[in-house]
Amino acid sequence: MSEETLRTTEADEGRLAVTADRDLGGPDGTGGGAVDTADGPARIQGRSPWQLAWERLRRDRVAMISLAFIVLIVLFALLAPLMAALTGHGVNQQFNDVGLTPEGLPKAPNGTFWFGTDDLGRDIFVRCAYGARISILVGVVATGFTIAVGVVVGLIAGYYGKVADTILSRVIDVVLSFPFLLFAISLVSIVGASLSVTIFVIAMFSWASVARIVRGQVLSIREREYIEAARSLGASSTRIMFVDVLPNVLAPIIVYATLLIPSVIVTEATLSFLGLGVPAPTATWGNMISEAQAGGLYQLAPWFLAFPSLLLLVLTLAFNLLGDSVRDAFDPRGDRMLQK
């Protein structure tokens, strides 16, 4: 197959996938690709838009490098106990003798402490590994909740329309116009900072944009003939929403989710930095950066600031690049951050 024909057919497929023009999980259980013989060449028969998107993504060098960085950091997080065992330093263990200079200052990176030590003589390398766990955990779980709530609200608003739509749309408007961080910190200050509160707060204020996107997509899908067909077959509204409509809005949701993860990770770090996230002495990147800032300590011990900051930057950058590529894989015509 020539490169040129491949590209054009892919472009069409991608558009179809994103504008949600077809039924991926049809009641007959076949993928969307098989139905495609009328407008696509026979060669690509049997490949669903999902497979096509995945193949495009796999050929995208930026995406694969980003993915590699993400996998590395995830491994770093998963193997945190191993890192602690390897160095023999506990995550909150204070090395007042070997971990601090005679003046009581943090030690620069060396053979024993690879990333140096912090103000209490703790190993920054081990703490970075444990901090990665919090960042990734919050990033994934909060994004999951956000998407779940947003999808349900968006489906209901878009599918039922009328009064439900009006009310839910107003609620979405209101949530979107809230100064998020101020409200989040008020909430955290009342109920106390903790991991679950952080996740709840983030999800609480991020679902609205997901809901808005989903609602817009559902509005156009619900008028399609196969929805009418499902209804005339006697399918319940719940079944139509989740079995017939939902699979067709998955592509934009996945794109949005990939781009939401880095912003959630930054929000968690910001809350921690302000002392309103996961409370100390738990090692999180935000907490570490905040401890480095206290008393201008990072000016004497730049590594204290540098390592958690770099990890945070690399992880968000990788997710942003990956998200950009995922969007490109689903919709090759769209504007993207990095051109190939």
Partner: protein, 319 residues
Amino acid sequence: MLRFLVRRVLLGILVLFLTVTLVFALFYVYPSDVARSLAGRQATPETIALIKARLGLDQPIYVQYGRYLVNLLHGNLGYDYYHNVPVTEIIGSALPKTVSIALGASVIWLLLGVLNGVLSAVRPRSIADRTLTVFSLFFYSLPTFVLGLTLLYFFYFKLTIAGITFFPPGGYVNFADDPFTWFRSLILPWLTLALVQAALYTRLTRGSLLDVLGEDYIRTARSKGLGERRVVYRHGLRSALTPIVTQFGIDLGVLVGGVVVTESVFGIDGMGFEAVRAINDQNSPVIIGVVIVAAGAVVVANIVVDMLYAVLDPRVRLN
């Protein structure tokens, strides 16, 4: 136009009302030990009850809420629990600092974002475009507080060690007292807040302008013999700005959040700083006051942004 304005103002008032109610509920329904901490460690239950009565905290919630709303409508945000200072006074001294940071940063972020976006869009895929893209992506992924601390490290600490003491470590000087020092002390906060957002706006402008430049009326303008500069700025950019303005309206909430972080990095006691401090002290009147003023600012600015559409894009009719 008028109908649109009325509808937007009504929605704005609804948002504000809900904000007040939610924040109020949050702080007053939840058991607070402010009376206890005010009374000191050895207070008798009677003293605590007395303090509660003085603060009006012994009343049923709906009475407190009603009283708060009435006061609010009279421009009274209540009193600081600890120093008995009117909240309006605290906000009055914090607001100019926050506005200074926010306004300056928005100017930089819009200018930088739109100009870079135009540069990128005029020559897509050129070296300039690619460089700007990489920079945008980098700054876009950089959390505000990391950027702020990094700027402080290099421009305050390293420069001072090198003997150049241009940038102060933080703090704020009134514009009226010393405009130059005011400017000098705000450069780093402005950049901190602006660079992260400018990146996003570069991308937005680039995409939006590229779309517009592909349209027929641009070809018409070119074939009329207009200069390229006039085509890009007068005909192209003007309508390409609409999505930028929309995004700016949405990002005002983000701006408020960014200000909180920036103020805390640079130790400027503006609204965000006061809010974080009040939160640590459980000083509810101050927190509620700050949240209401911030929400009010966002609502008003959003309405202004919506009106700007009609000015920017002659095709938009507000109704």
